[in-house]
């Protein structure tokens, strides 16, 4: 028993001393992973039917969007990390990861990013990387990017017909910036932030959408698109 106590004492000394002696590395690896959820289940394309908040059924076929201008902040010290050329095309059947690489070490407690493409980058489409117009996210008749695309099929509640839903949200007014609190990020430690995007929130909060009731199920510009954008700036993303 004594031995064990000694060992415990000794090891705690070791731990304390190691904390004091080891310097925090200047940089830390930072990665953000994203998962898509609808009706409490992992999103799947082209097959599975999900239930929307309105109770309508919905079979998603395409889901992609831009996350841009990623910023990490340590609100205690005022330190910030701002990613350069920060444009990430996230899609259910493609990339769901934002690798920031090695960034300056800090106890970051806030993650800020935008949904969509900022006005400057949205003013032209001859761009490269994730903004290359080859990804079907650029409008070719009205210069700019689709910020969020959701397409699928649903059963119209009144007619009973299968119908397509096309949501292409863009234009500068619908560019939204949001912040999420982070906890447990330690300076110098390799960190992976897990974001969940909850597709229910596209149809909720503050604007409740019932797609069978919409005048058109092609939502591109105008009032309904603005409502969806309000929705994605509210509760659409949460840090797990």
């Amino acid at each position: 028993m004594k031995n064990i106590l000694y060992i415990a004492l000794f090891s705690s000394l070791l731990i304390f001393s190691s904390c004091k002696d080891e310097e925090v590395p200047a940089t830390m690896a930072m990665n953000i992973t994203i998962e898509h959820v609808l009706d409490g289940q992992a999103l799947e394309l082209n097959g599975k039917s999900f239930t929307l908040p309105s109770g309508e059924d919905f079979t998603p076929k395409k889901f992609k969007y831009y996350i841009s201008n990623v910023v990490l902040t340590n609100s205690k010290t005022g330190e910030t990390y701002t990613e350069m050329d920060s444009y990430h095309l996230i899609s259910e059947d493609g990339n769901k990861n934002i690798n920031l690489g090695m960034i300056p070490s800090s106890n970051y407690d806030q993650l800020t990013f935008s949904i969509g493409v900022d006005e400057v980058a949205n003013g032209k489409i001859d761009q490269t990387g994730d903004l290359d117009p080859n990804s079907d996210m650029a409008w070719n008749w009205n210069t700019g990017y689709k910020f969020l695309v959701l397409e699928g099929e649903f059963t119209n509640a009144s007619s009973g017909d299968r119908q397509g839903l096309i949501m292409h949200i863009g234009t500068n007014d619908n560019f939204k910036t949001l912040s999420q609190p982070l906890s447990g990020v330690k300076a110098g430690m390799t960190t992976s932030i897990n974001l969940t995007s909850n597709l229910d929130e596209l149809f909720l909060d503050p604007n409740t959408l019932e797609i069978s009731e919409l005048e058109s199920t092609t939502i591109m510009f105008g009032e309904v698109a603005a409502q969806v954008a309000e929705n994605y700036s509210n509760g659409f993303f949460t840090v797990k």
Binding site: K124, D126, D132, T143, M220
Partner: protein, 359 residues
């Protein structure tokens, strides 16, 4: 070719290289990398365009090499999905870069388009939006429209770039012009834009008259006065367009089938401003005799029809351009004079220059 000649050529080449090498050795010149420099230039501009300088985006400054590459792409049907449609299919140099039909159906699907093909020249100064409704911010962004539209060239940008990568000549040209390791869709559009910006029409009889190198007939002179009085507010002298958008009274109402995304609403579909309902870009009057039929959808066959429209056909609604509320009334002799003046805006020097160089 006689059998001996390749040998002879080889010998000559060897000799020449020898001389070149020998002379290079005796002179102290910087011999390398000269071929990698780009020849940037500003096109010569006529004062009669009434423009200040040659605007171009900082990210895409024109060079001789860039223009040459853009020209090659412009006339290359292999850019399209079926290998048969080039930019020039709808923008033929002989017709001031139009196609001579109302609504074309010479895209990859053969489906009829919704807009008439506009003349593409003097576009460096079209700063306030391209396309009939001004939806494209600049040429670099615009080009992706016709390139990828399913009823036009229907290009898949990834395939297009891969094909260009596999073409040694293109590969070298792109590398030279853009100094990048691989071709990207942005470079394709930028090269085409460089070529298009050099399409400048400024040598019509009107220009020569203004520069006092030629004289107008009495009829043309009378037509010029009529133009000044009746047309020059929107078709401003110089570029012969105010580069703005107007509802010129073609329709009273604008149907809006959702699948066409506001196509019949004109500039309203871009700005959502009520005053832009049914408004389209003022086209230039330069080369107007070559660019029939007229209006954004090519609904008017001849210039006579256009004058008829302005005299008797104006549809009045809330967004009608105020300049047109009374219409434009001309008597038959005034019409003849105005048409004579309009014909003086045909630039055969421009047409021949670009036509010859493509044949």
């Amino acid at each position: 070719m006689p059998l001996g000649s390749p040998m002879k050529i080889c010998l000559k080449l060897l000799l020449l290289t020898g001389i070149a090498l020998a002379s290079a050795c005796t002179q102290y010149e910087e011999p390398v990398f000269l071929e990698h420099e780009l020849q940037y230039f500003i096109p010569e501009l006529s004062s009669t365009l009434q423009v200040a300088g040659f605007p171009q985006p900082e990210r895409n400054i024109i060079s001789q090499e860039g223009v040459a590459l853009g020209k090659k792409l412009f006339f290359d049907p292999s850019l399209s999905a079926n290998g048969k449609v080039s930019c020039a299919t709808c923008h033929a140099p002989s017709l001031a870069f139009t196609d001579g039909v109302g609504l074309g159906s010479h895209g990859t699907t053969g489906n009829k388009l919704h807009r008439t093909s506009p003349g593409i020249f003097n576009l460096a100064w079209q700063a306030d939006g391209l396309f009939w409704d001004g939806g494209a911010h600049d040429l670099e962004s615009l080009n992706f429209g016709p390139l990828t539209h399913p009823d036009e060239m229907a290009a898949d940008l990834n395939e297009l770039v891969a094909n260009l990568e596999n073409n040694e000549e293109y590969k070298q040209q792109f590398e030279h012009v853009f100094s990048a390791e691989r071709i990207e869709s942005a470079q394709v559009s930028r090269a085409i834009s460089q070529y298009v910006r050099t399409l400048i029409s400024q040598d019509s009889k009107y220009d020569r008259w203004k520069r006092q190198d030629d004289s107008f007939t009495e009829l043309e002179l009378k037509g010029y006065q009529l133009y000044k009085k009746n047309c020059s507010t929107c078709h401003q002298e110089g570029l012969f367009t105010d580069r703005d958008f107007h509802n010129n009274g073609l329709d009273k109402e604008y149907p809006n089938p959702p699948e066409l995304e506001g196509l019949y609403q004109g500039r309203y579909r871009i700005t959502s401003k009520p005053e832009d309902m049914g408004a389209y870009k003022t086209p230039t009057l330069r080369n107007i005799a070559l660019t029939a039929p007229y209006m954004h959808d090519g609904r008017l066959e001849t210039l006579e029809d256009v004058l008829d429209h302005y005299q008797n056909g104006i549809q009045v609604n809330e967004s009608l351009s105020p300049q047109l509320s009374e219409g434009i009334t001309l008597n038959p002799s005034e019409r003849i004079a105005l048409l004579a003046f309009l014909a003086s805006l045909t630039d055969s020097v421009f047409i021949q220059k670009h036509h010859q160089s493509t044949n």
